[in-house]
Amino acid sequence: MRKGSFLSKLRPITLGSAMADMALLLLVFFMASTTTEPPRGVEVVLPKGTTRGAEQDSLYMTISRSGDIYFDGNLVELEGLHDNLAMRRGEKDRPVAITADRDLDYAYISRVLGILQEQDFLNVVFMSEPRESIRPPR
C-alpha cells in the first residue's frame, strides 16, 4: 500500500460494544421467550384436547400408561406422592400439571385427584396436545 494513500489512513475498529449489545439483546429475548423442559420421568402419549393458555410454574406429575407416577421427575408410590405433596404444602397455590398417557385408565387419575384434593392442591392442569381444527368460543 502506498504511503499517504486513502486506505492507509483508515484505522481498523473493533465493534466490541456493538457485539455485546446485540448478544445481550438476543440473550434477553431468549430468556423471556423460551421455557425449560419440565422433569417428566417417562415419555407419554398425550391426549388431544381443546386447550387455552399455556401452563407455567406448575408442579409436574407424569403418569405412565402402566400407572407409574413420577412427581417432579422421580418415581413415587401413591403414599410417596401423599408425603411429597404434604411437604410442599406451601406451594399449594401452584397448579399441578398432570401429564398422563392417553390410554391410562381413569381409575389411576381418580386416585391422584383424590390425593391432590386431600392435600389441598386444587388447581389441576390436564396436559394435552392442542386440537388444531376446533377453536374454543371466546
Binding site: 440473550l27 423442559e37 388431544k48 381443546t50 386447550t51 392417553r102 381413569y106 386444587l122 390436564f126
Partner: protein, 150 residues
C-alpha cells in the same frame, strides 16, 4: 488530576488552558463473549413448545354442597365410542350440540361427568374439551364406580 499551580488555575478559569478530556473506555469484548455463551446455553436448553392443557379446579374438602335445579344438570357417561346421555349414545358433534342447546335453555348449567374406572383418560380430556367448546363453565367430575364428585 487537579493542578495546584495558581497561574494554571487562572488560565483554566479564563478558558485559555483547557483540561484534556481523559479517554475512558472499557473492554466490552469479554461481555460480548459472556453474553454469547449464555445465549448459546439458552438456545440449547430452552424450548419454544408451549405446554398446553385443560385447567380444572377441584373443590375444597371443606366446601359445602350446592343445590341445583334439575334442568341445570346434564349428566354424561363417556364411553370408548362416544358419550352416553340419558341412555342415548352421542358422537362428539351431537354431544356438543346437545350441550349448547341445554346451555341456552338453562343458564349456568352444570355438566356432570361420570367416569368409569376402566375408561381411558383420553375420554375425560375429550369430554372436558367438548364442554369447553360448548361454553359449559361448570363441570363436576364423578367416579362412576365409587361415587363422590369432584
Amino acid at each position: 488530576m487537579e493542578n495546584d499551580n495558581l497561574i494554571v488555575k487562572i488560565l483554566q478559569r479564563r478558558g485559555r488552558l483547557k483540561n484534556r478530556p481523559e479517554e475512558r473506555s472499557f473492554d466490552s469484548v469479554s461481555i460480548a463473549d459472556m453474553a454469547f455463551l449464555l445465549l448459546i446455553f439458552f438456545i440449547v436448553t430452552g424450548s419454544f413448545v408451549l405446554r398446553q392443557g385443560i385447567f380444572f379446579s377441584l373443590p375444597s374438602k371443606t366446601s359445602g354442597s350446592v343445590s341445583l335445579d334439575e334442568r341445570q344438570i346434564t349428566e354424561v357417561f363417556p364411553v370408548e365410542n362416544g358419550f352416553l346421555h340419558n341412555g342415548i349414545l352421542l358422537n362428539r358433534e351431537g354431544f356438543g350440540r346437545m350441550l349448547r342447546e341445554r346451555g341456552k335453555k338453562a343458564a349456568d348449567s352444570v355438566l356432570m361427568i361420570h367416569m368409569g374406572g376402566k375408561i381411558r383418560y383420553e375420554r375425560l380430556v375429550d369430554t372436558l374439551s367438548v364442554a369447553r367448546e360448548s361454553g359449559v363453565r361448570r363441570v363436576s367430575l364423578k367416579n362412576a364406580d365409587k361415587g363422590g364428585a369432584l
